[in-house]
């Protein structure tokens, strides 16, 4: 039972008036950590001296598994990389494979992909909002977030038959076309959902306790953020324009109008604001996509057994709900990828946790961790 990591930690120094430096484990069995992340926290009283994330409790070696599966089979595993926004990872892998093969999905499939990925972003941000508020101690927004998320999942289930692990976005298109009643239902949902955001904002945004807990907490500057590999909404909270949808447009993101949400403070509140604004942007994107959806094929006709991609390599990035999601694929001419690397936003965002929490209080670890929107399966894979 001796813990190798803990045995390496040296006991802290002594000071006549200070507290003994001591080490507290948060997780893996902790009510607050998302999933089975383990944080070893060195404390001086309540002040954090060092946060050491210990990863690997959810390591399922998906990259190794993918090396032993054919490309379409890999898509089922991408669902498990980030179960909160599985569509994004599906899309990332499908896009990477398509680029490797030089394929392009038909326009209708592209629009459908955009609709579902943006709906997924809504669902993911909703869950994040609830979890973040829950980390800070407000339990009600979590239930509100879940309530709206359920309706998005209903839309997904109606289309592809699953609520969590969709396996919907495939190489060369999407799995199946939407049902005719999808579009009115989706529009009804968006109309229902938009006023709900106001409620969340009333509950949280200017709540003085929420402001106290998030304003100025866990500040990360733009330079440090970029250097440490922070990405996605977390980095946009520091005012860096880093949206892959804008910088390296994929699908039809260059054809829809949306603004990149930026905040300049780099604290937890800024990150919160970025994501809340992104909710509104995503709604507008989905609306535009629904407008421009045209009939047509939804899948490129592929040979019955997938044509093996050439012996080449590709690094393809998309903007997932959590930030930059990169897939590095090396093909060797066979039906199975020689190497598949998932570059996940949570992985690099969790890395800065230590820098962000040093000198703050224990409670701030949870606030910062929540604001970074990390998902343990994405970190461990």
């Amino acid at each position: 039972m001796t813990d190798l990591l803990l045995s390496q930690i040296k006991p802290g120094g002594e000071s006549p008036f200070g507290t003994d430096e001591y080490v507290v484990n948060m997780g893996p069995q902790h009510p607050a950590t998302h999933g089975v992340l383990r944080l070893v926290v060195k404390l001086d009283g309540e002040t954090v001296k060092e946060t050491m994330p210990v990863l690997g409790y959810l390591h399922r070696s998906i990259e190794k598994i993918c090396e032993n599966r054919t490309y379409p089979q890999c898509i089922t595993y991408t669902d498990r990389v980030d179960y909160v926004s599985a569509m994004s990872v599906n899309l990332a892998f499908a896009l990477a494979t398509e680029r490797l093969m030089g394929l392009e999905a038909p326009p209708r499939a592209q629009w459908l992909r955009m609709i579902f990925v943006e709906l997924q972003r809504l669902a993911s941000h909703l869950l994040w909002m609830g979890a973040f508020a829950g980390d800070i101690g407000a339990l009600t927004p979590f239930l509100y977030g879940l309530r709206e998320r359920e309706r998005i999942l209903d839309l997904f289930e109606m289309t592809c038959g699953q609520r969590l692990t969709y396996n919907y976005i495939r190489i060369g298109g999407v799995m199946i076309d939407i049902l005719p009643e999808f579009i009115p239902k989706c529009k009804a949902f968006l109309d229902y959902f938009e006023p709900r955001i106001v409620e969340y904002e009333e509950l949280l945004t200017y709540n003085p306790i929420f402001l106290e807990r998030t304003k100025g907490v866990g500040v990360i500057s733009a330079e440090v953020g970029i250097n440490s590999g922070v990405c996605g909404p977390s980095l946009r909270g520091s005012g860096v324009s880093c949206d892959v949808r804008k910088q390296q447009p994929y699908l039809f993101y260059d054809q829809v109008k949306f603004t990149e949400c930026l905040q300049n403070d780099g604290d937890c509140w800024a990150r919160y604001r970025v994501r809340m604004d992104e909710l509104r942007e995503s709604i507008s994107i989905v609306r535009q996509c629904l407008e421009r959806l045209e009939p047509g094929p939804i899948e490129t006709k592929l040979p019955p057994i997938l044509k093996a991609p050439p012996a080449s390599e590709i690094y393809s990035r998309i903007e997932s709900s959590r930030g930059e999601m990169g897939i590095y694929l090396v093909g060797d001419g066979t039906a199975k990828p020689y190497k598949a690397k998932y570059r996940c936003a949570s992985f690099s965002n969790t890395f800065v946790l230590d820098q962000l929490t040093r000198g703050w209080k224990v409670a701030d670890i949870m606030a910062v961790l929540g604001s970074l929107d990390m998902i343990v399966p994405e970190v461990d894979r």
Partner: protein, 352 residues
């Protein structure tokens, strides 16, 4: 009306004593009957409150809440209590045995003793002490020792941190709690609850009207005293798992739970008595001729609802912000309130 019922029950008891030949020790028996009755009331009321909290939180979150055990799930808490009683009592071997055992007892008893002075109706009170207000404040300060013992004896880092945070918190919020009652006492000149209610009856207004600042500071500090959200950092589950009662299970945990809710009841009862006129009927509703007991409980439930709504709406403060709020906001405001009240009372007194 309430006192008539009490007289009637007392008469019945006297007859019973006489029949059993226990009249010589009637005084002691009276007190024991009171204690047993109060314990019964407290247990049932707390069970109801737990149910109410779950229902309120559920409906606030678009859920239904407990609905399986009994009508509307009313017996859910009873089921939970039975479950907790029959649970295995797991305790860490490395604990400090005596404080570990004492802590849940103290946590409950300290708040339970506060129920002695709660006036349910005119003359319906276990003991209408002269120093009622001060008595409650003094007796509930035992909770600190209970929490410190629990946190210390569990030999757990979360418990220790939670216990010490909690002690610092209770200690810090006791000052504004005490100070926010002072203006009322300045106006009434009495420390016992019945006199305060009678003063409100004669004056024709409840103290919440002129002393709304005191009311809010009192509610805020009482919430903090009872370790309720948004001041529930001692048991902040997202940081310290369970705070000072991380290592408690089964009945011992249930006692902490019970103690917390009794503390809520006591503080709400004090607030209802001092600020909302105790057993007095609502203005314009006096024609209903409901017993004062019902008015009193309605007011208590209203304040408890407020405290519950706080818990399920607001995020949790960080420990240093909590201290700041106590020392830098509540204490200055209460002191200011005392001074302003003093001036106004003196000026009005001169004018009258």
């Amino acid at each position: 009306m309430g006192d008539q019922i009490v007289q009637w029950v007392a008469g019945l008891l006297r007859q019973a004593y006489a029949m059993l030949g226990l009249s010589p020790i009637a005084g002691i028996l009276d007190r024991i009957v009171c204690a047993v009755a109060m314990f019964g009331f407290v247990s049932v009321f707390v069970m109801f409150l737990v149910w109410m909290e779950r229902k309120v939180s559920a409906h606030m979150q678009s859920r239904i809440g407990p609905n399986r055990v009994g009508p509307f799930g009313l017996l859910q808490t009873l089921a939970d209590a039975v479950k907790l009683t029959t649970k295995e009592d797991v305790h860490p071997v490395k604990r400090d045995k005596i404080p570990y055992f004492i802590a849940p007892i103290l946590a409950f008893v300290a708040t339970f003793m506060g129920m002695v002075v709660v006036p349910f109706d005119n003359k319906v009170v276990v003991a209408d002490l002269n120093i009622g207000v001060l008595y409650i404040i003094a007796i509930t300060s035992f909770t600190v020792i209970a929490i410190l013992s629990a946190g210390w004896s569990s030999n757990n880092k979360y418990s220790l941190l939670g216990g010490f945070r909690s002690a610092a918190q209770i200690v810090s919020y006791e000052v504004p709690l005490v100070l926010s009652i002072v203006p009322i006492i300045m106006i009434t000149g009495k420390l016992n609850f019945s006199s305060i209610v009678q003063y409100q009856q004669q004056a024709g207004y409840w103290f919440v009207v002129p002393q709304f600042v005191a009311f809010f500071t009192f509610i805020a500090s009482a919430t903090a005293e009872a370790n309720r959200a948004p001041f529930d950092i001692p048991e902040a589950e997202s940081e310290l798992t369970g705070g000072f009662h991380t290592e408690y299970s089964g009945v011992k945990f249930a006692m902490f739970f019970l103690g917390e809710y009794v503390a809520v009841v006591v503080s709400s009862a004090v607030a209802a008595t001092i600020f909302l006129g105790g057993w007095l009927p609502l203005p314009f509703f006096g024609f209903l001729h409901l017993p004062g007991f019902i008015w009193f409980m309605a007011k208590v439930l209203f304040i408890i609802y407020l405290i519950m709504a706080f818990r399920w709406t607001f995020p949790r403060l960080r420990v240093d912000q909590l201290m700041d709020f106590g020392w830098k906001v509540l204490i200055p405001i209460t002191i200011l309130n005392i001074l302003i009240t003093g001036f106004v009372v003196l000026l009005l007194g001169k004018g009258a």
